[in-house]
Point group: C2
Chain length 200, copies 2
Amino acid sequence: MPTDDPNHARLIARRKAGYEHKQARATGEKGLLIVFTGPGKGKTTAALGMALRAIGHGMRVGIVQFIKGGQDSAERAVFSGFENVDFQVIGDGFTWLTQNREQDIATAERAWAEAERMIRDPRYALVILDELNLVLKYGYLDLTRVLAAFSARRAELHIVVTGRNAPQALVTQADLVSEIRVIKHPYREQGVKAQKGIEF
Amino acid sequence: MPTDDPNHARLIARRKAGYEHKQARATGEKGLLIVFTGPGKGKTTAALGMALRAIGHGMRVGIVQFIKGGQDSAERAVFSGFENVDFQVIGDGFTWLTQNREQDIATAERAWAEAERMIRDPRYALVILDELNLVLKYGYLDLTRVLAAFSARRAELHIVVTGRNAPQALVTQADLVSEIRVIKHPYREQGVKAQKGIEF
């Protein structure tokens, strides 16, 4: 391994200067609309990791799971130990399981009512709407109404939306959008089953 | 919004059947080598979200932060409340800050020694090596040695590696690789500064 590199210090100094320049130019502070989308693993996990970070700062966090509540019982168990987290699981596995569109829409509406309550309640600093993108994709909620509620939020409120296939209008309105791509997946390629601590 | 769709139930049934078929074929169980890479936000956050999930199952988690320890104090504060998490921050901000390659290598070696200890200790079910990719990119640690340690791990141990620019040999060896891409970033485009609960 090379242990001596004449260009190293120069490279490092340039990186550091670039970083400091960028930070100095970024002075605004505002609540962000953040989207984690794409087909890869880690969207919900990243959102819940953000909840963890906010809790560590003593901020109040609201979480509404629109879909796959049944798989995230371990995270809920941990969050239940913190009084500044409100973790609502509505419509456990409701999509493509009930095979009843009317029922799915009713469930989505209940979940959205909970989301709107959190968005309006000034005690919340961060609201996570897990798998909302899937609900929007199926047309269970009206996108225009959802985006209007986001626009009307308090200036300092952060909202995180997860799920593959984020609607383009949501991406346009969002401040920060990360797309998670699958480079390699063990279930598809190796026949490994979903495991405790990894998938659920 | 459409509330009645003759194709809906059929579509849903087909999706469900496909999902169940895939699950039924995936029967193996093994410790996974997981990589979160790419330039987008959420790599560390996703890894720490996985830690949260594992803790919720009562699994023991080891975390070694190779680089940016200084920014993650909020997460550490939360994890410090759990006795089955060992969160080691080594080399707080060491890269491109010391401008001293010898010192950076020594720090990387100390962090790696801690990582190897966790990998060998059978009490750990999940070991997270945060920003290891950056250390490998700079050549502060020998990639061959790192990959050999991963190969020699206990069959049931999960390892998560984060950081942009994952080396190709690591991707090849990994079971699950997610790449996080930036679709939109507020600092670059809007001059918004790093904020509590979001960036740190």
